[in-house]
Amino acid sequence: MPFDRELLKGSIALLILKLLSERDMYGYEIIQESLRRSQDAFEFKEGTLYPALHQLHKRGYLHSEWRTGNNGKQRKYYGLTAAGRKAARRSEQEWLSFTKVVKAILSKAKA
Protein backbone atom coordinates (compact mmCIF):
# COMPACT_ATOMS: atom_id res chain seq x y z
CA MET A 1 0.00 0.00 0.00
CA PRO A 2 1.56 3.34 -1.00
CA PHE A 3 1.94 5.77 1.90
CA ASP A 4 0.95 9.39 1.96
CA ARG A 5 3.82 11.63 0.78
CA GLU A 6 3.62 13.97 3.74
CA LEU A 7 3.72 11.02 6.13
CA LEU A 8 6.87 9.75 4.42
CA LYS A 9 8.43 13.20 4.47
CA GLY A 10 7.80 13.53 8.19
CA SER A 11 9.46 10.23 8.99
CA ILE A 12 12.47 10.45 6.68
CA ALA A 13 14.77 11.96 9.34
CA LEU A 14 13.93 9.17 11.79
CA LEU A 15 14.51 6.59 9.10
CA ILE A 16 17.92 8.04 8.20
CA LEU A 17 19.01 8.31 11.84
CA LYS A 18 17.86 4.76 12.59
CA LEU A 19 19.59 3.19 9.60
CA LEU A 20 22.81 5.09 10.19
CA SER A 21 22.81 4.09 13.86
CA GLU A 22 23.69 0.59 12.64
CA ARG A 23 26.50 1.49 10.24
CA ASP A 24 27.80 4.22 7.96
CA MET A 25 26.02 4.32 4.58
CA TYR A 26 25.88 6.37 1.40
CA GLY A 27 22.66 7.80 -0.03
CA TYR A 28 21.85 5.08 -2.53
CA GLU A 29 22.55 2.44 0.10
CA ILE A 30 20.12 4.13 2.52
CA ILE A 31 17.40 3.98 -0.13
CA GLN A 32 18.11 0.34 -0.93
CA GLU A 33 18.13 -0.61 2.72
CA SER A 34 14.85 1.16 3.48
CA LEU A 35 13.21 -0.49 0.44
CA ARG A 36 14.50 -3.91 1.48
CA ARG A 37 13.33 -3.60 5.07
CA SER A 38 9.94 -2.17 4.15
CA GLN A 39 9.53 -4.74 1.33
CA ASP A 40 9.38 -1.90 -1.19
CA ALA A 41 6.56 -0.14 0.66
CA PHE A 42 8.67 2.78 1.84
CA GLU A 43 9.08 4.37 -1.56
CA PHE A 44 9.84 8.07 -1.95
CA LYS A 45 11.58 10.28 -4.49
CA GLU A 46 15.22 9.33 -4.05
CA GLY A 47 16.61 12.78 -4.79
CA THR A 48 14.76 14.23 -1.80
CA LEU A 49 16.92 12.10 0.50
CA TYR A 50 19.92 14.38 -0.04
CA PRO A 51 18.46 17.66 1.26
CA ALA A 52 17.34 15.68 4.32
CA LEU A 53 20.86 14.26 4.78
CA HIS A 54 22.36 17.74 4.45
CA GLN A 55 19.87 19.15 6.95
CA LEU A 56 20.81 16.51 9.52
CA HIS A 57 24.49 17.09 8.75
CA LYS A 58 24.03 20.82 9.36
CA ARG A 59 22.35 20.11 12.68
CA GLY A 60 25.44 18.17 13.71
CA TYR A 61 23.72 14.78 13.76
CA LEU A 62 25.78 13.32 10.91
CA HIS A 63 29.40 13.24 9.87
CA SER A 64 30.38 12.49 6.32
CA GLU A 65 33.41 11.43 4.31
CA TRP A 66 34.20 10.35 0.78
CA ARG A 67 35.34 6.73 0.55
CA THR A 68 36.27 4.51 -2.33
CA GLY A 69 34.06 1.44 -2.66
CA ASN A 70 34.96 -2.07 -3.88
CA ASN A 71 34.30 -1.11 -7.50
CA GLY A 72 36.64 1.88 -7.20
CA LYS A 73 33.76 4.35 -7.14
CA GLN A 74 33.94 7.31 -4.77
CA ARG A 75 30.89 7.68 -2.56
CA LYS A 76 29.97 10.00 0.26
CA TYR A 77 29.32 7.99 3.41
CA TYR A 78 27.30 9.32 6.30
CA GLY A 79 27.47 8.21 9.92
CA LEU A 80 26.00 9.35 13.20
CA THR A 81 27.74 11.73 15.58
CA ALA A 82 27.17 11.50 19.34
CA ALA A 83 24.42 14.12 19.00
CA GLY A 84 22.97 12.10 16.14
CA ARG A 85 22.81 8.94 18.30
CA LYS A 86 20.97 10.88 20.98
CA ALA A 87 18.60 12.34 18.39
CA ALA A 88 18.01 8.87 16.92
CA ARG A 89 17.01 7.48 20.33
CA ARG A 90 14.82 10.49 21.07
CA SER A 91 13.12 10.37 17.66
CA GLU A 92 12.50 6.66 17.95
CA GLN A 93 10.93 7.07 21.39
CA GLU A 94 8.84 9.94 20.13
CA TRP A 95 7.68 7.94 17.13
CA LEU A 96 6.80 4.88 19.23
CA SER A 97 4.81 7.02 21.69
CA PHE A 98 3.08 8.75 18.80
CA THR A 99 2.09 5.53 17.03
CA LYS A 100 0.94 4.09 20.38
CA VAL A 101 -1.37 7.06 20.92
CA VAL A 102 -2.67 6.92 17.34
CA LYS A 103 -3.25 3.18 17.69
CA ALA A 104 -5.14 3.73 20.94
CA ILE A 105 -7.35 6.35 19.31
CA LEU A 106 -7.99 4.14 16.29
CA SER A 107 -8.84 1.08 18.38
CA LYS A 108 -11.28 3.12 20.52
CA ALA A 109 -12.86 4.54 17.41
CA LYS A 110 -13.37 0.98 16.12
CA ALA A 111 -14.86 -0.16 19.41
Binding site: Y26, G27, Y28, K45, E46, G47, T48, Y50, P51, A52, H54, Q55, K58, K73, Q74, R75, K76
Partner: protein, 263 residues
Protein backbone atom coordinates in the same frame (compact mmCIF):
# COMPACT_ATOMS: atom_id res chain seq x y z
CA UNK B 1 20.69 9.32 -20.58
CA UNK B 2 21.53 12.86 -19.51
CA UNK B 3 22.42 12.43 -15.86
CA UNK B 4 24.61 15.51 -15.95
CA UNK B 5 21.69 17.60 -17.18
CA UNK B 6 19.55 16.55 -14.21
CA UNK B 7 22.39 17.32 -11.80
CA UNK B 8 23.18 20.69 -13.42
CA UNK B 9 19.54 21.73 -13.26
CA UNK B 10 19.31 20.92 -9.56
CA UNK B 11 22.55 22.76 -8.80
CA UNK B 12 21.47 25.78 -10.84
CA UNK B 13 18.05 26.03 -9.19
CA UNK B 14 19.23 25.23 -5.65
CA UNK B 15 21.52 28.31 -5.51
CA UNK B 16 23.81 26.63 -3.01
CA UNK B 17 26.36 28.93 -1.39
CA UNK B 18 29.99 28.25 -2.31
CA UNK B 19 31.70 26.52 -5.23
CA UNK B 20 33.03 23.64 -3.14
CA UNK B 21 29.61 22.80 -1.78
CA UNK B 22 28.05 22.95 -5.24
CA UNK B 23 30.72 20.64 -6.64
CA UNK B 24 30.31 18.19 -3.75
CA UNK B 25 26.51 18.07 -3.98
CA UNK B 26 26.77 17.63 -7.77
CA UNK B 27 29.18 14.73 -7.35
CA UNK B 28 26.98 13.12 -4.70
CA UNK B 29 23.84 13.35 -6.85
CA UNK B 30 25.70 12.15 -9.95
CA UNK B 31 26.98 9.06 -8.12
CA UNK B 32 23.46 8.25 -6.97
CA UNK B 33 22.02 8.69 -10.48
CA UNK B 34 24.75 6.45 -11.92
CA UNK B 35 23.95 3.73 -9.37
CA UNK B 36 20.27 4.09 -10.10
CA UNK B 37 20.83 3.95 -13.88
CA UNK B 38 23.00 0.83 -13.49
CA UNK B 39 20.30 -0.87 -11.41
CA UNK B 40 17.55 -0.06 -13.91
CA UNK B 41 19.77 -1.05 -16.86
CA UNK B 42 20.51 -4.42 -15.24
CA UNK B 43 16.76 -5.09 -15.25
CA UNK B 44 16.87 -4.98 -19.06
CA UNK B 45 15.06 -1.71 -19.79
CA UNK B 46 15.76 0.11 -23.04
CA UNK B 47 17.24 3.62 -23.13
CA UNK B 48 13.90 5.42 -23.27
CA UNK B 49 12.38 3.47 -20.38
CA UNK B 50 15.62 3.87 -18.44
CA UNK B 51 15.42 7.63 -18.73
CA UNK B 52 11.78 7.69 -17.63
CA UNK B 53 12.29 5.35 -14.67
CA UNK B 54 15.37 7.16 -13.41
CA UNK B 55 13.57 10.51 -13.54
CA UNK B 56 10.49 9.05 -11.87
CA UNK B 57 12.43 7.44 -9.04
CA UNK B 58 14.83 10.31 -8.50
CA UNK B 59 12.15 13.03 -8.49
CA UNK B 60 11.66 16.43 -10.05
CA UNK B 61 14.73 18.68 -10.19
CA UNK B 62 12.61 21.63 -8.99
CA UNK B 63 11.44 19.78 -5.89
CA UNK B 64 14.92 18.59 -4.93
CA UNK B 65 16.44 22.01 -5.61
CA UNK B 66 13.70 23.66 -3.55
CA UNK B 67 14.48 21.40 -0.60
CA UNK B 68 18.22 22.20 -0.90
CA UNK B 69 17.40 25.92 -1.09
CA UNK B 70 15.50 25.70 2.21
CA UNK B 71 18.35 23.80 3.89
CA UNK B 72 20.96 26.40 2.93
CA UNK B 73 18.73 29.51 3.13
CA UNK B 74 20.33 30.87 6.36
CA UNK B 75 23.86 30.68 4.88
CA UNK B 76 22.73 32.33 1.67
CA UNK B 77 21.01 35.11 3.57
CA UNK B 78 24.07 35.70 5.78
CA UNK B 79 26.28 35.88 2.70
CA UNK B 80 23.89 38.26 0.98
CA UNK B 81 23.81 40.55 4.02
CA UNK B 82 27.61 40.51 4.21
CA UNK B 83 27.96 41.29 0.49
CA UNK B 84 25.37 44.08 0.69
CA UNK B 85 27.04 45.60 3.77
CA UNK B 86 30.43 45.51 2.04
CA UNK B 87 28.96 47.06 -1.10
CA UNK B 88 27.16 49.87 0.73
CA UNK B 89 30.20 50.62 2.95
CA UNK B 90 32.65 50.67 0.02
CA UNK B 91 30.20 52.75 -2.05
CA UNK B 92 29.70 55.32 0.70
CA UNK B 93 33.46 55.64 1.23
CA UNK B 94 34.04 56.08 -2.50
CA UNK B 95 31.34 58.76 -2.78
CA UNK B 96 32.74 60.59 0.26
CA UNK B 97 36.18 60.64 -1.35
CA UNK B 98 34.90 61.76 -4.78
CA UNK B 99 32.46 64.42 -3.55
CA UNK B 100 35.05 65.63 -1.01
CA UNK B 101 37.61 65.88 -3.81
CA UNK B 102 35.26 67.83 -6.06
CA UNK B 103 34.37 70.16 -3.18
CA UNK B 104 38.07 70.75 -2.63
CA UNK B 105 38.60 71.56 -6.32
CA UNK B 106 35.63 73.93 -6.20
CA UNK B 107 37.02 75.63 -3.09
CA UNK B 108 40.43 76.06 -4.74
CA UNK B 109 38.90 77.34 -8.01
CA UNK B 110 36.75 79.89 -6.22
CA UNK B 111 39.43 80.75 -3.67
CA UNK B 112 37.05 80.03 -0.81
CA UNK B 113 37.87 78.36 2.46
CA UNK B 114 37.54 74.58 2.57
CA UNK B 115 36.08 75.02 6.04
CA UNK B 116 33.03 76.63 4.41
CA UNK B 117 32.00 73.14 3.27
CA UNK B 118 31.49 72.23 6.94
CA UNK B 119 28.81 74.86 7.31
CA UNK B 120 26.58 72.90 5.01
CA UNK B 121 27.79 69.48 6.10
CA UNK B 122 24.27 68.15 6.71
CA UNK B 123 23.46 68.84 3.07
CA UNK B 124 26.63 67.02 2.02
CA UNK B 125 25.66 64.04 4.16
CA UNK B 126 22.21 63.93 2.56
CA UNK B 127 23.79 64.29 -0.89
CA UNK B 128 26.35 61.52 -0.30
CA UNK B 129 23.66 59.26 1.15
CA UNK B 130 21.38 59.99 -1.80
CA UNK B 131 24.06 59.19 -4.41
CA UNK B 132 24.95 55.92 -2.66
CA UNK B 133 21.30 54.98 -2.20
CA UNK B 134 20.44 55.82 -5.82
CA UNK B 135 23.25 53.73 -7.26
CA UNK B 136 22.87 50.81 -4.84
CA UNK B 137 19.09 50.64 -5.31
CA UNK B 138 19.47 50.59 -9.12
CA UNK B 139 22.07 47.84 -8.84
CA UNK B 140 19.88 45.88 -6.40
CA UNK B 141 17.02 46.19 -8.91
CA UNK B 142 19.20 44.68 -11.64
CA UNK B 143 20.15 41.77 -9.42
CA UNK B 144 16.66 41.05 -8.13
CA UNK B 145 14.87 41.44 -11.49
CA UNK B 146 17.53 40.61 -14.08
CA UNK B 147 15.16 40.21 -17.02
CA UNK B 148 12.76 43.12 -16.68
CA UNK B 149 13.76 46.77 -16.82
CA UNK B 150 10.32 47.86 -15.61
CA UNK B 151 10.70 45.76 -12.48
CA UNK B 152 14.40 46.58 -12.09
CA UNK B 153 13.65 50.27 -11.54
CA UNK B 154 11.09 49.48 -8.81
CA UNK B 155 13.56 49.52 -5.87
CA UNK B 156 14.93 52.90 -7.01
CA UNK B 157 11.48 54.41 -7.53
CA UNK B 158 10.23 53.12 -4.16
CA UNK B 159 13.32 54.28 -2.29
CA UNK B 160 13.24 57.62 -4.17
CA UNK B 161 9.67 58.27 -3.02
CA UNK B 162 10.55 57.39 0.57
CA UNK B 163 13.63 59.63 0.49
CA UNK B 164 11.55 62.40 -1.07
CA UNK B 165 9.16 62.24 1.86
CA UNK B 166 12.03 62.04 4.37
CA UNK B 167 14.03 64.93 2.91
CA UNK B 168 10.86 66.98 2.49
CA UNK B 169 10.22 66.53 6.19
CA UNK B 170 13.81 66.94 7.48
CA UNK B 171 15.23 69.59 5.12
CA UNK B 172 12.30 70.93 3.11
CA UNK B 173 14.22 73.85 1.61
CA UNK B 174 17.16 71.67 0.53
CA UNK B 175 15.33 68.51 -0.52
CA UNK B 176 15.61 69.02 -4.28
CA UNK B 177 19.38 68.59 -4.63
CA UNK B 178 19.79 65.26 -2.80
CA UNK B 179 16.77 63.95 -4.68
CA UNK B 180 18.28 65.07 -7.98
CA UNK B 181 21.55 63.40 -6.92
CA UNK B 182 19.61 60.21 -6.12
CA UNK B 183 17.97 60.26 -9.57
CA UNK B 184 21.32 60.98 -11.26
CA UNK B 185 23.04 58.04 -9.56
CA UNK B 186 20.13 55.65 -10.27
CA UNK B 187 19.76 56.62 -13.91
CA UNK B 188 23.56 56.68 -14.31
CA UNK B 189 23.68 53.06 -13.13
CA UNK B 190 20.84 52.03 -15.41
CA UNK B 191 22.52 53.61 -18.43
CA UNK B 192 25.84 52.00 -17.53
CA UNK B 193 24.21 48.77 -18.78
CA UNK B 194 23.99 50.27 -22.27
CA UNK B 195 26.84 49.02 -24.43
CA UNK B 196 27.45 52.39 -26.15
CA UNK B 197 30.36 54.13 -24.37
CA UNK B 198 29.69 57.30 -22.39
CA UNK B 199 25.91 57.15 -22.87
CA UNK B 200 25.57 56.87 -19.11
CA UNK B 201 26.99 60.40 -18.80
CA UNK B 202 23.51 61.50 -19.89
CA UNK B 203 22.08 59.50 -17.00
CA UNK B 204 23.86 61.74 -14.53
CA UNK B 205 23.19 64.93 -16.50
CA UNK B 206 19.49 64.74 -17.41
CA UNK B 207 18.03 64.60 -13.86
CA UNK B 208 20.27 67.55 -12.91
CA UNK B 209 19.06 69.57 -15.89
CA UNK B 210 15.43 68.74 -15.07
CA UNK B 211 15.96 69.77 -11.43
CA UNK B 212 17.59 72.99 -12.59
CA UNK B 213 14.73 73.71 -14.99
CA UNK B 214 12.11 73.03 -12.31
CA UNK B 215 13.67 74.59 -9.24
CA UNK B 216 16.35 76.96 -10.57
CA UNK B 217 19.71 77.22 -8.75
CA UNK B 218 19.52 74.75 -5.88
CA UNK B 219 22.58 75.67 -3.81
CA UNK B 220 25.11 78.43 -3.73
CA UNK B 221 27.85 77.40 -6.09
CA UNK B 222 25.29 76.22 -8.59
CA UNK B 223 27.08 78.57 -10.96
CA UNK B 224 29.38 75.56 -11.38
CA UNK B 225 26.79 72.98 -12.44
CA UNK B 226 29.41 71.09 -14.40
CA UNK B 227 31.30 70.51 -11.13
CA UNK B 228 28.20 68.99 -9.55
CA UNK B 229 27.74 66.84 -12.64
CA UNK B 230 31.44 65.91 -12.58
CA UNK B 231 31.15 64.86 -8.93
CA UNK B 232 28.13 62.68 -9.67
CA UNK B 233 29.67 61.20 -12.81
CA UNK B 234 33.00 60.36 -11.16
CA UNK B 235 31.04 58.90 -8.21
CA UNK B 236 29.08 56.66 -10.60
CA UNK B 237 32.31 55.60 -12.31
CA UNK B 238 33.89 54.76 -8.94
CA UNK B 239 30.79 52.83 -7.90
CA UNK B 240 30.83 50.92 -11.17
CA UNK B 241 34.41 49.83 -10.45
CA UNK B 242 33.37 48.74 -6.95
CA UNK B 243 30.55 46.66 -8.44
CA UNK B 244 33.00 45.04 -10.86
CA UNK B 245 35.47 44.33 -8.08
CA UNK B 246 32.83 42.76 -5.83
CA UNK B 247 31.47 40.70 -8.70
CA UNK B 248 35.00 39.37 -9.26
CA UNK B 249 35.47 38.62 -5.54
CA UNK B 250 32.10 36.88 -5.25
CA UNK B 251 32.29 35.41 -8.75
CA UNK B 252 31.06 32.00 -7.60
CA UNK B 253 27.69 33.46 -6.58
CA UNK B 254 27.36 35.50 -9.73
CA UNK B 255 28.15 32.60 -12.07
CA UNK B 256 25.33 30.45 -10.81
CA UNK B 257 22.75 33.00 -9.83
CA UNK B 258 21.36 33.68 -13.32
CA UNK B 259 21.22 37.23 -12.08
CA UNK B 260 23.12 38.90 -14.89
CA UNK B 261 20.90 41.69 -16.15
CA UNK B 262 19.56 40.80 -19.59
CA UNK B 263 17.40 43.80 -20.39
Amino acid sequence: MHLDRIVSRIILLAKLPGNDRRAEVAEELRTHLEDLAEEVQSQGYDEEALDRIVRMRFGEAEEIAGAFTSVYAPERLAKLILQSAMFVTASTMAVVVVIGGVQLIAAICTATSVVSIWRGIHREVFGIGAVTAGYCSAYAGERIFPTSLAKAVLPSVTLGLWLGALFGWLVPQHAALPLAAFACAASGRLLQRVKIPFVWFAGTAVPLLIAWALFGPLISGWQFPWLVWLGLTVSCKALREIVRLLERVFVEDFDYSENTAKF
